[in-house]
Amino acid sequence: MNNKDTKKTIKDTTSQKKAIRDYLIFSFVFAAGLILLSIFPDKKQAATTTAWSYFLEMMAILPAVMIIMGLFSVFISKEQVVKYLGKASGFKGVFLAILFGALPTGPLYIAFPLAAALIKKGARVSNAVVFISAWACIKIPQELVELQFLGFKFMGTRLLLTIFFVILMGILIERLAAQKKQKQAFND
């Protein structure tokens, strides 16, 4: 327990450091922008108008996105994902892999150990690949922001194409990975 606590504090401080770093970089960019615009005052109007309109759009969508992400990270545990996806197969397996991947639950590097756990639990390699890919690029909050900025046609088309190709890719990779294993078994 004690060990766990220290681990947690270490993690907290590194994320705090990162946050401070992000704010520092932001201040630097902000200052650089101010200097640049004071050198070229004729560009000021265009730059601030564009920045402001993007700021408004971001503020319209971001709080909702963050709340959705927060809710899911509290309600869905990693153990649940592994439990349900580990034994699911066939069409249901692919569907669940996309669904769990798309749920807003943290950055990509969390998905790697989860996928490894899935394979260990007996999930198909194709489903693990689909799961990582969905986690990477079919996230619900991402889709919301994409909808806001790039429109329904762009977002929808890219979503459908991505789902199609991700499944195809999962099956292909599984075949290729299996071939290697058979060869190894043969050589052994």
Binding site: T50, A51, M66
Partner: protein, 130 residues
């Protein structure tokens, strides 16, 4: 709610930063320049170049969308923008060591390699139908 507020304050500097960069970008770089590099006439080479850029860069997808929208507005081709977003999210050069550690070299290379090819396909198809 606390989790939401915390992640909001974490992403905020990045969001503000990208907004400032987009603002400066649109004021200082004329659309004709953008079109030259990522517009329709840049062709497949342009798409491949921006796909590589997306694979190497490590910026959160959430803040890549305003950037993508700004690029589109200043004359970038749909295929180029789609390629950028797709490799940005699917292919991770920065996260490669971590992925190799968890899933093995072979699976990692297969996944990232295929993701790159798939991203280019998605981009080309989107360029054709939109």
């Amino acid at each position: 709610m606390i989790v939401a507020a915390r992640s909001f304050s974490r992403i905020l500097p990045l969001v503000l930063m990208i907004i400032i960069i987009v603002g400066l970008f649109s004021a200082f770089i004329p659309p004709s320049e953008i079109t030259k590099f990522v517009g329709a006439q840049a062709g497949l080479t342009g798409i491949l170049a921006i796909a590589v850029l997306g694979a190497v860069l490590h910026i959160p997808a959430l803040i890549s969308f305003p950037l993508a929208a700004a690029l589109l507005q200043s004359g970038a081709a749909i295929a180029s923008v789609a390629a950028f977003i797709t490799t940005l999210t699917m292919v991770g050069i920065v996260t490669l060591p971590l992925e190799i550690k968890e899933l093995g070299l072979r699976l990692t290379l297969l996944r990232n390699g295929f993701s790159f090819i798939v991203a280019v396909f998605i981009a080309l198809i989107m360029g054709m139908i939109l």
